[in-house]
């Protein structure tokens, strides 16, 4: 494009948050549970807070709720905008909204920051009411099951009697599956993407490198650090490394290749940032430390590593035995963190257990984060799964 055209002044472009298929401006809320909560480890906290958002309206039968489950570094803000000045909407804004695949005109969408998180829910950076200081590493060990149980208390509080569906990618997929296992009568549909029944050695290995980066940073101080300080270097390195595992060789090649930063002298031998990909990763690391707590990173990666459905229930089939809802598992060809085989294994185990389960695989080159992809194919699959049987009317009279 080389045209230089005068911009019409009459009507400024409508802000994106005012788009008809956008949930618009949203505000988080806090659910405060004032009773003791016992973790799987047996450890107890006197109460907890979950920060959450909802979009759409709960219907009179209270059964049109869709629970969205976030991944490791995600949060409760999955759609809409907190302020007109926001640069970015919620992390799954492309999927959720009026008329979108998760249609907020029909569904009451709920998304909460997990227990153990750091975006407003109770976690290691929260103040322990008994000591007046942050929990740090005295916070109880968190499991995916603890997150699921806490989330269920929120749904009960909201008056949801039955989930139309629970949707999540990556760790969110684990949370979604476990919701269906723990609350089978409550969960009518499960949609788990880019997930696994248990991490392989490679995924655990990456998490361990991230944890070591944090724990080897002197500022970690065995988890005891002020709220605005802490192991910022370690956390940034953990994020840089993890970010590589969320994308793919092909997508990085396309986005950066070997391009160098404009400021970098072409052939100079220096340890300053030279390649664009380096600058990008540093930016990822730096922006992460401003929004994420290092101890939460330790706790949640540990929860991911320890999640093992087959081990916890005897076998995958036994784990899925209680499931009553319909299940859809989606894998992505370029996901090398939770690869297609691990997603397929879930669907096959569900089918062996005699459950209604489907598996679809999308060809992408964007790696693990493909589940966040803007893809009409993915949208139409999600819509088909959520809305099936409601408009479809087949006539086989011969």
């Amino acid at each position: 494009m080389t045209d230089d055209v005068e911009v019409a002044q009459a009507e400024p472009a409508a802000p994106r948050y005012l788009a008809p298929d956008d949930v618009g401006l949203v505000a988080p809320r806090d659910f405060v549970h004032r009773e003791p909560f016992t973790f799987k480890s047996g450890q107890v906290i006197p109460g907890f807070t979950l920060r959450y958002e909802t979009y759409g309206q709960l219907n009179t039968t209270r059964d049109n709720a869709i629970l969205i489950c976030h991944a490791l570094s995600g949060d409760h803000h999955c759609a809409g905008w907190h302020s007109p000045a926001d640069k970015k909407p919620g992390w799954w804004n492309n999927l959720i909204g009026p008329g979108k695949a998760v249609d907020t005109r029909r569904f009451f969408v709920v998304c909460a920051n997990v227990l153990g998180g750091c975006q407003g829910s109770t976690g290691p950076s929260s103040i322990n009411p008994e000591t007046g200081r942050a929990y740090g590493t005295t916070f109880p060990f968190v499991t995916i099951r603890d997150m699921v149980r806490a989330q269920k208390l929120l749904l009960d509080h909201l008056g949801v009697v039955e989930l139309h569906g629970v949707i999540g990618g990556s760790m969110g997929g684990m949370t979604a599956m476990l919701t269906a296992i723990e609350y089978p009568k409550f969960t009518r549909r499960v949609l788990a993407m880019a997930t696994t029944g248990r991490e392989g050695a490679q995924a655990i290995a990456f998490n361990e490198v991230g944890r070591q980066a944090i724990m080897q940073d002197p500022a970690w101080n065995r988890g005891d650090y002020p709220r605005d300080a802490g192991p910022r270097t370690g956390l940034a390195i953990a994020r840089m490394m993890a970010h590589i595992t969320y994308v793919s060789d092909a997508s990085m090649e396309r986005k950066f290749g070997r391009r160098k930063k404009e400021t970098a002298a072409t052939d100079a031998y220096t340890f300053e940032t030279q390649f664009e990909v380096e600058g990008y990763l540093r930016h990822q690391g730096q922006s992460f430390i401003n929004r994420f707590d290092a101890n939460t990173y330790l706790y949640i990666t540990r929860a991911l590593d320890q999640f093992d459905l087959a081990h916890a229930y005897g076998s995958l089939e036994k784990a899925f035995a209680p499931v009553e809802g319909d299940t859809l598992i989606v894998g992505f060809t370029s996901d090398w963190l939770f690869p297609p085989e691990q997603n397929r294994a879930l669907a096959l185990a569900l089918l062996r257990a005699g459950k209604r389960a489907s598996y679809a695989e999308l060809s992408t080159d964007l790696g693990h984060d493909s589940f966040l992809l803007e893809s009409e194919e993915l949208y139409s699959l999600v819509r088909a799964f959520l809305e099936r049987g409601q408009h479809y009317d087949s006539n086989y009279s011969i």
């Binding site: 005699g354 489907s358 679809a360 695989e361 194919e377 088909a384 087949s394 086989y396 011969i398």
Partner: protein
């Protein structure tokens, strides 16, 4: 109703007749799930379909079916013996890269196997090949060779020979005339347009 659609419904009816109500059914090459949907509605089966294509899986999911995107042989290998009451291989067998492997595996995971295929020994197909000297194109096979998946144009005689050679028991067979409607009893390899087989180990 267009001719191919009409033909399709007749073939679905016969397949349905052989399915026990409430059976656990696996459809190899389920497409958009039309056959399984029909079996769910008429026979209350518990259905699973396998297909390679994302769009077809989406269509099957939209119908409320269980559908698995992937290779059918690998899929079946993940199941114990006799997991399914019936496996269906309808208008798929001619496109299989390794028909023996698929049919052997289907007879392991299924108590019974329905195979349905177009009989390329049908006289019109023979005449067509003789006169045109070209790949068959008609209401069923609408595509040019270069737009189609590789295909083994098998005949009823070919299939019967396969079953005999592999020791596969034929529990039932249905041969339909060129209209795919009227039963075809004499000289099926020459006079039948469509064949359905109910197989067992």
């Amino acid at each position: 109703m267009s001719r191919p659609a009409e033909k399709r419904t007749v073939d679905m009816q016969i397949i349905a007749e052989w399915v026990e109500p409430g059976a656990r059914v696996l459809d190899l090459g389920c497409g958009s799930g039309a056959l399984l949907d029909y079996l769910v509605q008429t026979k209350k089966v518990s259905a699973v379909g396998v297909d390679l294509d994302f769009g077809r899986i989406t269509a099957s999911v939209r119908r409320g079916l269980s559908a698995y995107q992937g290779d059918m042989t690998t899929f079946m290998q993940a199941f114990p013996e006799k997991h399914f009451d019936r496996v269906i291989c309808s208008r798929t067998v001619q496109e299989l890269a390794d028909p023996t492997a698929v049919i052997t595996e289907a007879l392991r995971v299924g108590r019974a196997l329905t195979v349905g295929f177009v009989n390329h020994g049908f006289w019109k197909n023979r005449v067509n090949a003789l006169l045109q000297g070209r790949k068959i194109r008609n209401a069923v096979y609408t595509t040019e060779w270069f737009e189609s998946r590789p295909s083994n144009p098998l005949t009823i005689a070919d299939f019967e020979h396969f079953c005999a050679a592999k020791g596969i028991r034929i529990a039932r067979r249905a041969h339909l005339a060129g209209n795919w409607h009227t039963p075809s009893r004499t000289w099926p390899n020459l006079l039948a347009g469509y064949a359905l087989y109910d197989l067992a180990r």
